[in-house]
Structure formats: C-alpha cells, structure tokens
C-alpha cells in the first residue's frame, strides 16, 4: 500500500496502522478526521472534498520529508478522501510510528496541522439551506 494516497474510496484505518508498524516501533499515533454532524451550530448534510491530486501528493511528500528531518520516526502514512462524505465518514487518516511516543505524537500533530495549511484539498460544507467552501472568505 502506498504511504500517501488521495482516494475516492473508504479509507481502511486498520490497514494504515498495520502499514506503519515495524518491529522497531514502540509507539504509533494515529489521527482520524471524521465528518461531524454540525459545524458552528448548523446541521451538516454532507461534505464534498476535492483535491488537486498531483500537487497534493507533492505537498504531502514535503510534510513527510520535513517530519523525517525533525523527528526520529519510522513510518508515516497519510490517506485523504475526496468525493461526497456523510456524518461519521473518515476524511483523513495519519499514522506515525516511532521507537518512542514523543516523536510519534509530535510528528502526527505536525502532519495534520501542516496538511490543513498547505495541501491543496478543498471542502464544501452542504447545509439544509445552503453551502459554503470552508475558509474561502474572510
């Protein structure tokens, strides 16, 4: 399984975890971003994700390279969904293995924080009475 994936299909969390686990690993941190049923008090009907896939993979690779420079981690996988998602669906999974938990936690946190700032993926929230591209307007 590839480490960096932008996919239109359901993400298999267990497979992500199995992929990062190595005999040297003592700690794995996994972040799972899921679709909430409400945002700012409004009921969300669905989310629609789209990606500029080739560039998104470039930017994800940059995140992985930065992490490997900063922390002694073993493996990192990042899988991100595109398409239409509903409450409870998994939008993103990040899994990081390391000998010790500090590196796993810090690298995983850094990965999701940076992904949200730099990776060209967009999310439209669809409500019962309208829709909005998240973060598009001031």
């Amino acid at each position: 399984m590839s480490d960096l994936i932008i996919t239109n299909e359901t993400i298999d969390v267990q497979q992500c975890i199995d992929t990062v686990m190595t005999p040297e690993s003592g700690g794995i941190d996994v972040f799972i971003g899921t679709v909430r049923d409400t945002t700012k008090g409004k009921k969300v009907v669905r989310l629609e994700f789209e990606a500029y896939e080739s560039m998104a993979l470039n930017e994800l690779q940059k995140i992985v390279d930065e992490i490997k420079n900063k922390w002694p981690v073993h493996k990192i996988i990042i899988h991100h969904r595109t398409g239409v998602l509903y409450t409870g669906d998994v939008a993103v999974v990040i899994a990081v293995s390391a000998a010790h938990r500090d590196a796993a936690f810090e690298a995983c946190r850094y990965a999701i924080d940076t992904l949200k700032q730099t990776v060209p993926i967009w999310k439209k929230e669809v409500f019962e009475d309208g829709e909005v591209w998240v973060a598009a307007h001031p």
């Binding site: 971003g33 500029y52 730099t118 967009w122």
Partner: protein, 78 residues
Amino acid sequence: MKINILAFGIAREIVGSSCTTELTGLLVQDLKRDLGAQYPRLKQLSSFMIAVNGVYAQPEQVINAGDEVAIIPPVSGG
C-alpha cells in the same frame, strides 16, 4: 501568450474548471492581477495562490508556455 489555467474549489466555481487567459505579462503577479480583473470574485477570497507545475509559485516567478498553472483558493483539507 495564451495559457490554460486549472481551478479548484471555489475558484473552479468562479472561473470554471479550466479557463484560458491571455497573459499580458510574464510573471505570476501579472497573472494574478489579470485574473483579479477578469474575475472580481477571486479578489473577495481570503487569498488565492498560483501554483506552477504543482508547486506554490512566488509573485516574481516567470510563467513559461506549457507550464501547468493552477488557481489555489484557501485550502481546507483534513
């Protein structure tokens, strides 16, 4: 020089998923100015960036014929 431009997210809704524009200058900042004039709703976004060949481009970067150019509105993955 005529270039094709990819657009995503809200930028796609503003300019279409692929538009062609006549570049009046050579630089990324020229393209941003032209796009802003042609599509005023782009200027109402929190920001919009230009990517050239799948990499965020600097304002003074030169655009060459055949480059893959994209409008990148504020990202919101995760």
